[in-house]
Subunit: 307 residues, 2 copies
């Protein structure tokens, strides 16, 4: 199960106590940061996220509202005397920005900090992998290079039910083969198939983060049937032309993508500073895809449907 | 009268809801920003500061907690379609950082943005001047180049008291000379001195901002008898060695400087993340200089003694 904590929900100009884009995804006791708008470290502090568990950072694109919080966060990790390696995945240029700022402040990053440059060649490929999770880059259509991220649990091991194996009188030496999902033929000619001794399959859950993008049905192939989709919804329908001109989406468009892609649940965010009240935007989105919620600072959403 | 609004009071690592260094000084309906730590624009929003009145930005040095909020603020001014020119005063390199970030995001700053590089040659000189205010660079002793700022009202015009001029039967044609502070001899041989027709002198008030510095009595010559002094007080006496090692000050040291310099009031800030409770630090400072207050987010201090 993946758990998403919203740290920021505003678009370019912060307003109405909304912070710029940043989210923490947690999985198996580890944290992943998706985008790092200004103030992200202050939000991490507020929501008591233990920074030493931060495993990787993914930056979708180089508009300031998605990375201006990164220099501060990396500095703070330094002050906290982090020693664990950290990799930042993001567009070309990010390393240059960070290194220039550290150079001018005559500071040195003392933990192993690595930058992995994302390019269009990465779209649709696995860019990060742990024992239980993989992250795939998703092509988004924005004014500059922009990558979404699909976080997907790896297929899970099915549980071996010892009591069932005993009930079928399976000799111990066959356990390993059965655990690996093989059928075996016992000396007495009986055939034991995995279904007889393994628990039911625990489905792998997935979360897709689509930070800044115009309406594009090509997204469907990358986010089809994800459990949880975050899709930007900068504007209401009344500002559809403005959405087109700035390569952003409306709430209704985000909901259409969610519906076409048959996702379980949609979260919308990246709200324009022109909307003090987000309820009308939510109503518009829900008219197309009912299971939609607003990304509000501090809200938590889980890929198992809880929030 | 100068009015100081505290936007941030933490040192390098933000903690306990404290934001990194930033302050707004207002004078004659104009705003001046002193340092711009991460989240400064969110604080400006919170305290309802009208950004179009922002006249100039002064960055003391290039440690991240003093300027990581600058790219975001400059972007927001862009989004707000600012047209008025803005000058940023700060160390060499600041322009490079800002320009690189705007380049990588393929954005253009559409208002006239100027950078004025501060060097040790500026110490003790007027670096900014308006009709009513001047700003002088103060040399601070830190690990890298660091400039404090003295904001000082220019001498004020004394009010011309027409009723007094009439009482002394001064012919109109002498008014201008008298208003300019001259004595005049009337046709009837009477001598009219300015004191007879001008109101009492309204003293010029001053505020000194000393962001990051080790204890240095050389400061006295620059801040002597200012109305309001902000002096960093990162540490308590128990951590005096740490203060020395990092070129910072203790609360007691800040208070000693305030006392030696005969200032009217002291504000201390830039608190280490190790102190959840700042009261003991304040007690230490007040034991040396009674008229001391903590720089807390949202607090306002005036050079006329109000707060």
């Amino acid at each position: 199960m993946l758990k998403v904590l919203i740290l920021g929900s505003s678009s370019a100009t912060p307003a109405f106590k909304r912070f710029p884009s940043a989210q923490i995804v947690s999985h198996n006791e580890r944290f992943y940061l998706l985008d790092c708008g200004e103030g992200a470290q202050l939000q991490l502090l507020k929501y008591k996220i233990r920074l030493h568990r931060l495993d990787a950072i993914f930056i979708s694109h180089l508009h300031g509202d998605h990375f201006f919080g990164l220099p501060g966060l990396l500095s703070t990790l330094n002050m906290q005397e982090r020693t664990a390696p950290l990799t930042v995945y993001g567009p070309e240029g990010l390393r240059e920005i960070i290194e220039l700022q550290f150079k001018l402040s005559e500071s040195t990053i003392r933990y192993p900090l690595d930058f992995r440059v994302l390019t269009p060649q990465d779209f649709g490929t696995v860019i990060f992998e742990s024992r239980t999770l993989e992250v795939i880059s998703i092509p988004l259509k924005h004014r500059i290079f922009c990558s979404g991220f699909l976080l997907r649990e790896k297929p899970k091991k099915r549980k071996f039910m010892l009591s069932e194996a005993i009930r079928y009188e399976v000799p111990k030496e066959y356990f390993t083969l059965l655990k690996l999902g093989n059928s075996v033929t016992l000396p007495d000619e009986r055939i034991i198939v995995p279904e007889m001794v393994l628990g039911k399959e625990d489905p792998s859950e997935s979360y897709a983060y689509c930070s800044d993008t115009q309406y594009s049905e090509e997204l469907k192939q990358y986010i089809y049937q994800v459990d949880l989709l975050y899709h930007e919804a900068t504007f209401m329908e009344a500002h559809l032309e403005r959405a087109k001109a700035t390569a952003h989406s409306t709430g209704k468009q985000a909901a259409t993508i969610a519906s076409l892609s048959e996702v379980r649940k949609l979260i919308i965010g990246h709200f324009s500073a022109r909307y003090p009240d987000l309820e009308p935007l939510l109503v518009e989105a829900r008219s197309v895809f009912a299971n939609t919620d607003l990304a509000i600072e501090g809200c938590v959403f889980e890929t198992n449907g809880n929030s």
